[in-house]
Symmetry: C2
Subunit: 106 residues, 2 copies
């Protein structure tokens, strides 16, 4: 679903990835990371889609909450496994959202 974020400014972590073949525990880890992220202080929401590439955008109140999530022990272990097994390549971009607008069909 489209994340219900507050009025900007807030921050976005844009994570784009290409997977390796096979699951290797990836789906379970991804679910667990989503659950963990939801409980982090400063977490505002997340959007995710995948076909040829995967794009996950998570939204955060401030850079401090992004850094705390980066340093979370389970998340660090998952990132290591990502480099070893799950991802062919990825790119992470940290961005500040200054403006947003939306549309919802009646």
């Amino acid at each position: 679903m489209i994340a219900e974020t507050p009025t900007p400014p807030y921050f976005a972590v844009i994570f784009t990835s290409v997977r390796t073949e096979g699951d290797h525990g990836y789906a379970e880890m991804a679910d667990r990371m989503l659950e963990l992220a939801h409980h982090q202080d400063g977490f505002l929401g997340v959007e995710s889609a995948r076909n040829e590439i995967g794009i996950t955008v998570s939204y955060w109140r401030d850079l401090e909450s992004i850094h705390k999530w980066r340093d979370h022990v389970e998340h660090s272990i998952a990132r290591d496994k990502g480099r070893k097994e799950w991802y062919q390549s990825f790119k992470t971009r940290i961005a500040k959202v200054d403006r947003d607008y939306g549309f919802e069909r009646e």
Copy 2:
């Protein structure tokens, strides 16, 4: 593919959407918009994925190039059709990318 963007800072337009049923000329328009965007001054790259929701992130040199793309006549017509036909809902977020890092398997 993962976009090959330059060293930050640069800008991202994060467009998240839920489609209506059926194509109604959507795929053709999406291809045309991608082709047009690639020819815009300041365009740096684009990433796109869709399953339940669609996420398209386009990258730009500066806000000026984003505004010019927003005001492009064909793009404006496509946005109008998006509201009338193609999208159940969407959200557009304009963000400044301050930091990025990546990984590529050997």
